[in-house]
Amino acid sequence: MPAHSQTRDSSTEQQTAVYVYGILPADTDIEPGTAGVGDEPGEVRLIRHRDLAAMVSDVRIDKPLGRPEDLTGHEELLDSAARDLPVLPLRFGAVVTDDEAVTSELLQPHYDEFAGALDELDGRTEYVVKGRYDERTLIREVLAENKDAAALSEQVMGRDQDATRDARIQLGEILGNAISAKREEDTRSLGDALAGHVVASAVRPPTHELDAVYTAFLVETSEEPELERALERLARDWEGRVELTLMGPLAAYDFVATIEPGT
């Protein structure tokens, strides 16, 4: 591996730096020719220190990072590694000056933490469960349960939007609050439904008004079929009400910062 000696003060020169994807055990190989992130992407490679390795590639520092293909590239590289190995994923955008810095400032001083975290993750991967409410079913449900909302809906339905604006806002607010309450309840139900099959869970904030559930789970690889069956049962229970999606296996993005012994 060529070391990239940087002369950062000569700003006219085209420069590269080292993009770091994550930390993984050293006894692995990257398929040759795997392209990394960035414009004119460098080849993905490993920088090893004892039994740890950083997955890296060179990037130009005069080009911004963050195009859609950079973002998906970052995740795909980590997820594909995580299918076979424990991986500590770094947040998108970690760039250090050179190979030497990866070893001397990242791998070496944090060897114990990284090695310990990789042990914790061994045989475990992340799955993310996302559920989206069916708008119609959800609103029917709320109107059936909430007399105020039902009364307001009769006032506004099919009427001129401007003339009924105040009632609409009031109705929308009741619906919004009711949806938040349902989201909390359904998030709990999801957690209960999977409780026997997961090591840990982390609820993500909703990113859409109609998000029903959005939770990351750390799962023993051997439990995956059970996890899927439990979710299928839940999907049946929620048929027509919540559309469920299971994403994974993924690198343990939601758990690396909070891994503690015994979790």
Partner: protein, 129 residues
């Protein structure tokens, strides 16, 4: 690519790869933060990041929910809802509801295509319901 596992009713979908919106949620504010570890050699590379995926209740949100109630109206004849008087006259209320997620996706595509975007070295993300 989505594989739907049909199992007598509700289906669980298993996408083969994460959509961009999911990727954003996953890698932009999850994962180890390297600047907590590396003090000297972190390179301040410019990041095109997106500050979009926020769910905040607002008057607009409320009005959208109310519009969704209007849309409910047109399907009433089919499924019926006790206690609600169907009023069909303006049933076709504008179908302009657009979720924050989709809007964010559009925005991202836009800046992806012209190479420009919101340039913020740090993503500040407000969260709320």
């Amino acid at each position: 690519m989505t594989t739907a596992i049909q199992s007598g009713g509700g289906s669980l979908s298993r996408p083969q790869s994460s959509g961009l919106a999911d990727v954003l949620d996953t890698i932009l504010d999850k994962g180890l933060v390297i600047d907590a570890y590396v003090r000297v050699s972190l390179v301040g590379i410019e990041l095109l990041t997106i500050d979009a995926r926020v769910v905040i209740a607002s008057v607009d949100t409320y009005l959208r929910f109310a519009e969704a109630v209007d849309r409910l109206d047109i399907s009433q004849d089919k499924e019926g809802l006790p206690g609600l008087v169907g009023n069909m006259q303006e049933g076709g209320a504008k179908h302009k509801t657009k979720g924050a997620l989709d809007a964010a996706g559009d925005k991202l595509r836009e800046f992806a295509s012209d190479g420009q975007g919101e340039r913020a070295p740090r993503r500040s993300r407000r969260e709320g319901n």
